[in-house]
Symmetry: C2
Subunit: 298 residues, 2 copies
């Protein structure tokens, strides 16, 4: 399959224009909702959509309680789905919980979310990745700028930009406790990164990125063009963001932790092929390869 978005192959960074639409449904289907025209237009232009108070406070509390429980349960679990902080034993993320946990499974199938995603992606969808995150207060570390799609394309073999990430905010995201920063509009450009991917580097990369890192010049250009938006919103809000939008977050020295549920939907017409790096695919908990309808499509 042709590599429309080559990365980690050239000597120099390169900015490539997006070759995929952002809204995939035909106008009629788009008109049906549940997202309205204004929301769709905002998403198409900016590459993200923040829906305040999407979940009720009761729902948030229920999810938070379950997150705490799962956190406790995994304290001594050293399997690879449990990612810890770079310099401590503290858990940072737990992947794949929707396969083992009823509440998180239900969340991943919540029609309030999936209907909106299908409206944008114009097809049936499936869960590509699912994790719960906790960024502690006082010492939460930064997460450097990246496009998720760059990694999913190169390391997992996601062919096209036809996936959406969802983040359910479980704590208030202030400007000062390390909220997600997005470069609105950057989803329309693909930054081809420099540097080959070493084998099996994903274990380290989940703690600290070293490959697929965009260069300073491209980031400066994007920031000058589009500015930076911080996803500040109250607990219970839902953030949808396009798989190729440039995003990252600063550290968090405030006492206020941040936790969220993060999951990615991919179109069933965009299932994974062999990684474009030519290397072996990453494990299934990072990139769901069980859905294989891609062959049917082409």
């Amino acid at each position: 399959m042709e590599d429309l978005y080559p990365s980690r192959v050239y000597d120099k960074p390169k900015i490539i224009k997006r070759k995929d639409p952002v809204l995939f449904s035909d106008p009629e289907k788009l008109n049906e909702g549940p997202l309205n025209q204004q929301q769709l237009h905002f998403y198409e232009k900016n590459g993200f959509l923040l829906l305040d108070h999407f979940f009720s406070l009761d729902e948030v509390n229920e999810i938070k309680k379950e997150l705490d429980r799962v956190w406790d349960e995994n304290k001594h679990n050293h399997s690879q789905e449990v990612i810890r902080e770079p310099n401590s034993d503290e858990i940072r993320s737990i992947f794949d919980v929707h396969r083992k946990n009823e509440l998180f499974h239900r969340l991943s199938q919540d029609p309030r979310i999936t209907d909106r995603i299908e409206q944008i992606l114009g097809s049936k969808i499936y869960v590509h990745q699912f994790r719960i995150n906790y960024k502690p207060g006082f010492k939460g570390k930064e997460f450097y700028w990246h496009s998720d799609f760059e990694t999913w394309h190169v390391e997992d073999g996601m062919p096209r930009m036809r996936a959406i990430s969802c983040s359910i905010l479980l704590t208030d995201n202030h400007s000062y406790n390390g909220p997600l920063m997005l470069i609105p509009g950057s989803h329309r450009y693909f930054v081809s990164c420099v540097g080959k991917t070493p084998k099996d580097h994903f274990k380290a990369s989940l703690k600290k990125q070293e490959f697929g890192v965009p260069d300073n010049e491209s980031l400066s250009w994007m920031t000058e063009q589009f500015g930076i938006t911080t996803a500040t919103a109250p607990a219970g809000s839902l953030l949808l963001f396009e798989c190729n939008i440039m995003h990252g977050s600063n550290g968090n020295i405030t006492p206020l932790p941040r936790s969220n549920v993060f999951f990615v939907y991919n179109s069933v017409e965009n299932t994974l092929v062999q990684p474009f790096s030519g290397q072996s695919p990453r494990p299934d908990f990072l990139a769901n390869r069980r859905v294989q309808t891609h062959a049917m499509q082409s």
Copy 2:
């Protein structure tokens, strides 16, 4: 001299109520300006005051140009006034430039600033410390929570809370490029920190704090009581903040650097005595000991 604010002496952290006023002038003098009643009230209550567009754009550009020049000039200067980043050779701060540089000397004596400081501190004042700071984009590191007074008291022998820090913002401070965070109202409480101060540790402490670090419980209490404010303002703004206010800043992964001129005025009635740690005083570029009118006062 009695130690009104003991720190780094107890086994456990402790919160002590402030024993000094915040506004030192009598009402008549306060009424004379240049700060108006509303500004004075805000400062007394919150412990800081942000004066937007205090300097003109022309002035800012002149100062920035001089900062760049001084930066270049000191590239290979490895004297102790030049502080570098923890993990690189990049300069982070240069101290004491007002003694050698005409423009920065003039700034330190600017009556638009000194009149306001004297109005608050109710006496003649002198420069306790002066430095220029540069927080680079992409990799600017966090600066953890602290009260400046805690250090100046323990390590430099500043007896009372009667000093004010000034920061001239030379770049726009956004919420996302690591602006100063303040806990408004925290200047009315002194957090007595745990841990003895090792000898000559100041060289490391200018890069990364390890002593005089407030505990998590006190920080949580203060944040719950008072919240957090970020000093976001355009270039040219002047931030005044009380010597005991709790402040810090997160890292900065955005391409937008932050630079400022930072200096501290102390009351001539509050000059330095022997450090309350019982150790030798830190060098003069960190804490001006040349003004010695304190003996006259008592």
